[in-house]
Structures are given as C-alpha cells and as structure tokens.
Symmetry: C2
Subunit: 326 residues, 2 copies
DNA sequence: TATCATGGTGAAAGCGATTTCAATGACAGG
DNA sequence: CCTGTCATTGAAATCGCTTTCACCATGATA
C-alpha cells in the first residue's frame, strides 16, 4: 500500500507538505502541482485509520434502530443515509431487534468504538437510557421520542392521535376498539392511546377500556388482538390501531369475521403505509414525514460536529403531521 | 481517556503485558489478576482506532444496498446485522438509492476505507462491476445475483418464475400481461421474465409481447403500467409482476378499473410481502428466504475472514424458494 | 538600515495500540 | 554442574498520518 511518505518522496517534498496539501494548509502552487501529480501517479489514498488515530475523528456516525425491516424505520434510515453521504460521513448501523437492552449495549459500544456522533431511533426510554444519553461522550440525537434535556426530532403523537380520534368519533356507528402498544414506548404507546381517547371524548364519544388491547408492532399481533376483540364483542365496528402494520392485521381479522370488501372503513392506523394505501384505498391514518425526520436529525447532529466551536446546533424539533382519509 | 499505559502502570506491568492479557498471550496468573483489577478500576477500553492502525483490521463490514426502505432489502439487512453482531463485527451501511454508479463509488470508498469485507446486495451487474469486484482488495460476497467467479448467495429466479408461470397458465381465463423490471437486473428483470414466459409456454399458454411493460420496482410504477395495460386491452385478466410491490400497484389499478374485491386472483408477484398476504388473502407469489440470504452471505464472508489461512469459505450458494397461493 | 509580519517548509513528536526480540528464571535431563 | 526447553517479561519499533515548532525567505514598514 502506497503511503504518504512515498508520495512525498516522489514529489520531492516532505510528508508534512503532502498532509498540508490534502488538508488545505500553506502550500506553494508548484509543490501543490507536483504533489497532485504524484498522488495521481501512485493512486495514493490516505489511511483513514491512521488519520482517525491522529485526529480522533472517524467520520462515522452510529445509528441505532429498533428494527430495520419496518417501513417507518427504514424510511428514517434512508433519510439519515442521504444526509450522511452528502456530508462525507458514513453510517455504522446497529439493529437492536426491539430489545431495549441491546440499545444500551450499542450506546456503550459506540462510545468506545469509533463514532463521532449517534442517532438513536428511540422506542422505550428508561431511566437507564436517560443516564446513558446524559453521559454520552459524543453528541447524540434522538428520533421519535421527546426526551427532556436531549436533542430530539419527533412528531406530536398525542396531538395527531387527538385529531384522529376527534375526526373519527362521529363517523362510526358501533363500538370503537383500540389496539395499542406498550406504554413504555411513550410516543407510539402512551401518547397515541391517550390522545386518541381524548380526541374521542372531546367529540362526545368514548373508548371502552375493556376494548383496548396491546399488540407488539407486528401485523400478526394486530390480527390476533382484533380477532379477540371481534369475538368478545360483536358490536365492535371499528378498530383504531397504533400502527398501520397492526391495522393491516386488524383488517384481515375483519375480513375473516365479516366478509371481505364490505367497503366500509373499519380500521385506522398511524404511518400512512404505502401498501395499505394502495390495497385498501386508504384507511384513516396519520402521515408522518419519516424520511424528513431522519434528514433533520442528521443535519442537526452534523451541524454540531462540523460547526464552529460552541455554537451547538443541538435542540429539539417537532415535525408536523397530516391526517389522511378522514 | 485512560489508555493502556495507565492500566499497565496501575498494575505494575508493562503495556505489552496488558496487550497480551487482552489478546490471550503468555501471561502469569497473578499479573493477569492485577491487570484485570486495574482495568475494572479505570474502566479502560481499548481504542479500536489504534488497534486498527496497528493490526490493519477494523472489524467493520461494508454493506451496500440498493434501497434500504424496501421489504426485501431491509430483511436481508436484518439478516446481515444479526450475524455481524453475533460475531463481533459492525456494519457500515451504504444506501445507493438504486443508482448503479453510486454502487461503484461505495465499492471504491470501502476499499480505501476501513472495512474488512463487503456484502453487496446486487441489482445491476455491469462489466465495470465485474471489474471492481474482481480487483477488490477485501473479500466480497454478492447477494441476489449470480456472477461467475464471485462469491454469491442467490435465488434461482428463472426456475421460480418458470414454476410460477407453469402453475398459473391453466388458471387464467383471459389474457396474461407482465410487468417486469429492467433486464440489466439479471435476476429480477431478465430471469423472472424469461422464466415466466417459458413456464407459460411449457403449459401451452403464451405471453403476448405487446402485453409486457417495464416498471421500476415501485408500487406506483406498477400501478401506472397496469392502468395502461388494462386500457390497451380489455381482455387482460391477469397481470404477473416481477415484484410484490408492483403487484400491489397493479391490484389497485384492477380495483379502480373493474371494481374492488371481486375475489378473483388477478395478479402475481415475487417476494411474498406480508402486507399483501394479509390484505388480499394472498396472491400467487414466490417466497424467498431474504433474511436467510443475508445470514448465509455474512457467515460465508466472516468464515473466510476469521477462518484459518487458506481455507476460503467463499463459494456460491443457491437458496431454495417456495411457490405461494397457487 | 533595522524590524516585522507572513507565506512556506521539513524535522520530529506524538496518537494508542500490537509485536518482535532479546533476556530472564525455572526446571528437567544428562 | 551444564545445557536445552519453555513460560514470561518489558523495551522498543512500528502502523501512517497530523501538527507543532523552529526557521527561512521576502517584502513591507518604520
């Protein structure tokens, strides 16, 4: 492997000069020219490992996601990758498979491994998380949850759910049921359920607590919960879900129980999933700018890394949402 | 940051001893004990950057994907990540957004950047690709395409498509149309189309060349192509697609054109998408073990990296498939 | 003429590990 | 007692780059 010294010798300068040429320091025009030629000739590329050791920066950003094979997360990741690529960074991806402890594990790993910053696509935020985030040696930005004192990009799930509940209240004849996710996921669990309830209430409807079930983000969990709901109470005519994926499962349960294609909107979700939109004509759901949240979070992070000393770009950013098909 | 020297001093040994302790070289029991204590006390972790510089290995694997936010790719990625994590490696993810030149760009970037190996989730394989793969300084495994002389994990798209075409031939009344993707994607484009045609032919049916369209992997492209097909020839009663995603688009076009929920299987796809399965009751499609292909490819790669000198685990591996709903 | 910035330059000191190498002491066999 | 083996050890050399530092011209300023 050709190293800097070789280039320097070929160009008849010191390696310091080559380094300066590469990094934009003082260098005279003719030497710059000679160095340029020498680099082309040798096909030299600098070792990012040596550079990293010396400068302490790796141009690597750690990205922690709960589950890469889900529409929302993979869109967020696409957004993150876009910005990273454009700004000369690379993405170190860690997939925790929905295990909160693996999240902490990776946070730890990234501290001691070579990343300049971290993007955490967050689900559950425990005290341990808060502590880990607090004591993080590199800048970190959260996506999806609002955490006091931490930089984050998120959506207002409570408000969105409220609006959805409010809008839906009048249009449902029978009883409304709800399939949520764990409250430990503040945004997708707690906020969406409470917001939805509040929205219904504000419009004069109610959500019977006995008609609330908990799924686990998967299509199948939505299907099973819905089946149970439908068998428990035949008057259930609408099932609101905390995610479009679970809504798809619920839809299938409806189809099996009451026949397909009755043309009635029987479920609602969150996320505006493209398949669901195409195949059902569109259930009531909330559109979030997932890709945008990845983009914004990453820009925020890189701004503090690349930015002038002191002026931290880290802050919290709430993105808008949009009700669909209501 | 506490470094090895600090630990060594605290334990009253040389840093060489600490290094040996960490890497399993000769070390006496009592010194090992002292070093262990010192490490715990100081919370020392070794700098992977210095280690990388010295050893030349980064424990990083570059993963190049065409589009992270697609079901198949994100499943493959999940499989890759699983193995990587288990075996002590990390994933450097590069998303090319379906731009073949960006693929080459990343191949290049990874060579000169710190990865020990590369997994390429391949779409188009041009001569330039072949050359780049050939001259790659680190081991590389392809997923999804069969390339002579390169290590790859792939599915037999021709055979699968043949079976699908053969099985479908008898069950369609009207005309059959096809929405494919570019032939430059040998597997998903060329092989699937040719295999499907051959399968139909073998069962005595034909695919009218004028009823073949080309989409671009997206739901919307499938929708548009299908709309056009349906308007061009009202006798078209079945549209086979090269991907489930496009099939979803085609299904929507059918719904708009001929009314929803007629209960007839009108499209087929590839990939066995979960949403499609749940929402339609299951279109004819081919199930591929996407996650498995990620797992297998990564194991193959790491085996050659970790394995004893010489015994290369690199080879080609053809995975099975399964016809669904036919 | 004396004094200063100022653009340019290379030698050399690290960054924090791993690894070679020669040296040591202990111990078995002859 | 001498010698060979073998487990252990630390000093020192790298790995390939960045960055400080001392120093030189050169031209401007006083």
């Amino acid at each position: 492997m050709v190293k800097m010294k070789d280039v320097a010798e070929l160009a008849g300068v010191s390696s310091a000069a080559v380094s300066r040429y590469l990094n934009g320091g003082y260098i005279s025009a003719d030497k710059a020219e000679r160095i340029k030629k020498a680099i082309e000739l040798t096909g030299y590329v600098r070792s990012s490992q040596a550079r990293a050791l010396r400068t302490g920066s790796t141009k690597l950003i750690g990205v922690i996601v709960p589950k890469i094979n889900s529409e929302s997360v993979s869109r967020i990741t696409a957004g993150i990758g876009q910005v990273l690529g454009r700004r000369g960074y690379q993405m170190l991806l860690a997939n925790t498979d929905n295990a909160a402890d693996r999240e902490l594990e990776y946070l730890d790993l990234f501290q001691n491994h070579p990343v300049d910053g971290i993007v955490l696509v967050a689900t559950m935020i425990t005290d341990e998380h808060r502590r880990a985030i607090e004591s993080c040696r590199v800048p970190i930005v959260l996506i999806g949850q609002h955490v006091e004192g931490a930089a984050c990009v998120y959506h207002d799930d409570y408000e969105a759910a409220f609006e959805l509940g409010h809008a839906l209240a009048g249009r449902v004849d029978g009883k409304i049921a709800y399939i949520g996710v764990t409250d430990e996921d503040r945004a997708a669990g707690f906020d969406r359920r409470r917001g939805f309830e509040a929205g219904l209430r504000a419009a004069g409807a109610v959500l019977d607590p006995s008609l609330i079930r908990q799924g686990s983000f998967t299509l199948d969990s939505g299907y099973r919960a819905a089946r149970e709901l439908l068998s428990v109470d035949p008057d259930v005519s609408f099932i609101a879900c905390a995610t479009d994926t679970m809504a798809a499962g619920a839809l299938r349960a409806f189809d099996e129980a009451r026949g397909m294609g009755e043309g009635v909107r029987r479920v609602s979700g969150f996320g505006d999933n493209a398949f669901l939109r195409a195949l059902t004509g569109g259930i009531p759901t909330v559109h979030y700018g997932y890709l945008t949240s990845g983009v914004e979070a990453t820009n925020m992070l890189l701004n503090t890394l690349d930015g002038e000393e002191g002026e931290s770009g880290l802050k919290t950013l709430k993105l808008g949402h949009q009700l669909m098909n209501v």
